[in-house]
Symmetry: C2
Amino acid sequence: MLLRLLSSASRAIAAKPHPPQTLAAAAVGATSTTRKLAAMAGNREAFRVAVGNTLERRLFYVPSFKIYGGVAGLYDYGPPGCAVKANVLAFWRQHFVLEEGMLEVDCPCVTPEVVLKASGHVEKFTDLMVKDEKTGSCYRADHLLKDFCKEKLENDNTLSPEKVEELNHILAVLDDLSAEQLGAKIKEYGIVAPDTKNLLSDPYPFNLMFQTSIGPSGLSAGYMRPETAQGIFVNFKDLYYYNGNKLPFAAAQIGQAFRNEISPRQGLLRVREFTLAEIEHFVDPEDKSHPKFSDVSDLEFLMFPREDQLTGRSATRLRLGEAVSEGTVNNETLGFFIGRVYLFLTQLGIDKDRLRFRQHLPNEMAHYAADCWDAEIECSYGWIECVGIADRSAYDLRAHSDKSGVPLEAHEKFAEPREVEKLVITPSKKELGLAFKGSQKMVLEALEAMGETEALGMKAALESKGDVEFKVCTLGKDVTIKRNMVSINMEKKKEHQRKFTPSVIEPSFGIGRIIYCLFEHCFYQRTGKTDDEQLNVFRFPPLVAPIKCTVFPLVKVEKFDVVAKKISKALTTAGISHIIDITGTSIGKRYARTDEIGVPLAITVDSTTSVTVRDRDSKDQIRVEVDEVALVVKEVTDGQSTWADIMWRYPAHTALATDEEEASET
Amino acid sequence: MLLRLLSSASRAIAAKPHPPQTLAAAAVGATSTTRKLAAMAGNREAFRVAVGNTLERRLFYVPSFKIYGGVAGLYDYGPPGCAVKANVLAFWRQHFVLEEGMLEVDCPCVTPEVVLKASGHVEKFTDLMVKDEKTGSCYRADHLLKDFCKEKLENDNTLSPEKVEELNHILAVLDDLSAEQLGAKIKEYGIVAPDTKNLLSDPYPFNLMFQTSIGPSGLSAGYMRPETAQGIFVNFKDLYYYNGNKLPFAAAQIGQAFRNEISPRQGLLRVREFTLAEIEHFVDPEDKSHPKFSDVSDLEFLMFPREDQLTGRSATRLRLGEAVSEGTVNNETLGFFIGRVYLFLTQLGIDKDRLRFRQHLPNEMAHYAADCWDAEIECSYGWIECVGIADRSAYDLRAHSDKSGVPLEAHEKFAEPREVEKLVITPSKKELGLAFKGSQKMVLEALEAMGETEALGMKAALESKGDVEFKVCTLGKDVTIKRNMVSINMEKKKEHQRKFTPSVIEPSFGIGRIIYCLFEHCFYQRTGKTDDEQLNVFRFPPLVAPIKCTVFPLVKVEKFDVVAKKISKALTTAGISHIIDITGTSIGKRYARTDEIGVPLAITVDSTTSVTVRDRDSKDQIRVEVDEVALVVKEVTDGQSTWADIMWRYPAHTALATDEEEASET
């Protein structure tokens, strides 16, 4: 049930036979909630259409290449969307990189095959696909089966209780079905191609990476990276050195990632190109405490531990400190990041009551992972995984160490040297050379690479029998090792330091998903002058609002324009993004226009000495001197003061006409 | 002589048979300067090695995927490089997008083929390549010829004056050579593969775009965008509407672009993936004035007009206002952007004496372009095009209008309707249907699409002869048009508005190139304690410095650490990026370390009440109270005060030991 948009998931699958396919929320607790969801679906759908229409009409985002008919799964951010995105990323950099002193890097999207072979993406980063046998159209096999089950559950009142249970069971285990199992179910239920009703092929794996070729020869395969994390892992050695050879430290990267989805849907939630922001926090596996954990340990929010999911309970409010001390969350560092992610999302404007941290179920996690939690945000599509926070142990660094031959490890110097028993394997080059000639190097390396158990087994066999069969993977066969070819002993040694592969704790943010959920959480409608007129508002916090302030001359006269320009200049100097609207449109209509793109404050120039400032959400107005107004706006939009603080200091202004009356005028 | 890293160049070539290939500086004035350059080459090379070593050692940037042997033309920005890049982009957004109220958009890198067919990239975005006939290794044909000529000119003292002239001529016209001419020269001079000395193939075009496939069917070709501009052009209609259907307005985009260079070289200057920041300013072709031109008209800087290049003069200081009023620069809007680019680059820290604006020669420009100027920055590789500023007329919008069938145009409402004579072509559907049956639609469209001259010619022919042969491109043949099939007349009409395709003025910034030149311009070495010890310094302005401030407890004692942490907290609150260095290393060595990554200010904690603040470049120190120091640092790094302002307000601190002495201690 991992979400594949985020890297934690994508890499998790490198160790799992089949990638997880569906929205976590749709599967978790599906048995009990599917029918309830069906009843709510109408409202959700209407809300989604209202917010979607506003977003597209105001150019927050639009399908890319629209004049050419568009391309599924590709979107452009228009001016307000682009500004929101830039604000979210700037805050991310402030909140994580600067406040925690992380090492930010910036690596290319074009990635040579060898890197993604090491990470497992070339082999395993796949979805199961079926083809329309006549037209060749492609579909995700699990999507078709899921749609079939949901449609039946929602609309077929003749289903027997056994059938309901069967279909719910399929929804719950959808991610774990093999190609064969999926194919069998599709056949059993007679599922056909949705558009043509033609028969479908058997499911087969389709790699989701965009493939390309690097350089002019055409011989060097490359891919567009499916996540940014690999760029950090391959730089571990340099970054560790940069950090003074000290652990822990975190590296971070913001950048584009690419996944050639089979059939993109759900707007910004499942796309073919998207911005990820990822942190890789490297830590000694023997000490995952965090010096700043106490800064977040008192936070309380919705958590959904594994146990509660398995026993059918719902998410509950937990204190983070207790979740860690009681072992629900594996360690302090993981807990620290969960807390920081909570603060990040809620400060952006995500509703804390529609945000939960859900722990991965045992079968969702890769075998090497110590613990994983997803920050899930509820929107009209259900609970959406927006941030994955995973303790991935040493998996990634080991994979690249093995493939590249470059050790990616850390070391801890001991205050005093320690005496340890150590396995020493000493092959005899001379004897190996005589016995194996051209293959001697491969045999030698394989002998040296033996683990302790295997080596001690060989030692025992050689001592008792004199020879032993030994599998050399690089030769693809067994060879016979004799007593004179290798000596194996446990020896006492003094060690001055400990070498180890660090664990990595990875918070990975799907920026587009967070932004889409933010849009939904900030959107509301209020009634205009007439009951059937609905005015759209985005209640963005100043931090993320695409534009902080608008300046409106009340009527079109020269002297007001002069004041408006003067204020605009002062706002520019103060670094506050704003627009002047000097169209002759009624002031109410101009307010409505800027409410719709979420501008927090509007300055209306109705005299040459003082102006009014209006708050978007309360619609309250105050009167402020012209020379002072830029600073007042800065105070609120920088977050130094709230609107309430400001209200108290300045005289209220009562407009003759309400917004809505004027909004409806023209 | 366009540089292909920037989009103006890449699109210019869509209308030229062969893409330009070389560094402008290497060709312009090559005759007179080649020998001089050769003499300077030693120093330049040494400087480049010194700055390059520092950049790589301190992780400003490193070759990507180093542990796997790297990939030519791909680089990672490490922590300080990434911070510089983020600062440059933040300032770009402030200086252009916010100050000029531009509409910023964010479009995907994955681009369907149809878009890049319309723009001309699929057909013409190529370099000429030759292959080693035995190994298949690929080389850029022009690079081999250029290297051959330069090597001869620099090292062969036996050349006749005629041969010198011939080789210099080749360098000057290199960009204009056809595949056949390049091939002939390679044969004539006996140029062979550099590594193997094998024979080379004939030159043939290689498309520089990374190709991929969108969606699972494998049938939908796509490319990684070679520039960001196309994303803006295809959105023109929506953006124009967003701007209230008013011109002029500018849209902007920052993003990754990709070019599969045949043989990348020159480090960050010619890479396979890079960040572009592009502006498309849409303007009425009949009015290219700019209301804010007077803000920049008094600027004076090095300009290199076409005339001066052709007559062998060098760049001279011109006042921008005069350059525009005298027609050297085509129009005010182009001039405005030249001025704004000058301010942008010099405020970043680019040396104004090594920055020039070079006008394109007639043969460099696409036929449709009105005027083009490149901001070129001199570095150890010569003069490098870093920003292209082009008036591209209506080319791009027309290309997408034609291909998509969606009109991308603006309109101007007249205050009073105007009477105009207008060509009216009225085909008779009935007669065309009878005559051409299935082809009638193509014939009808071709008739309606005739220009005025062609239509009037047809009218005359029909009146005199009764019929006329007419070429229908979409049918690929001529058809016979008779008098009854079409009526053609000039009619008087009242027009209420004018429709037109806007011109676009495009400043396009190669961010990686700007950053590399900035590194070179900010780098210097100063002598340490001993004469042979060279200490490296980057004199980054606070605006771009990767870290604004460091905090050093002078010696390792608890009470100083406490003060350092207190100051760190105040700096974080003030939003100032900083690092604490509590290693026991000597203070001089710690200063040297941070000078090497260009940190402007260092705070040394040597008491619990006051601390010293040291300026990187002058090495002057002042003494400031602990509670005040964060604000002092903020004042300087925000640019509100200079170091000189601050020096005057606080007591100077004279260190017992100089930096260098201590730096050399350990």
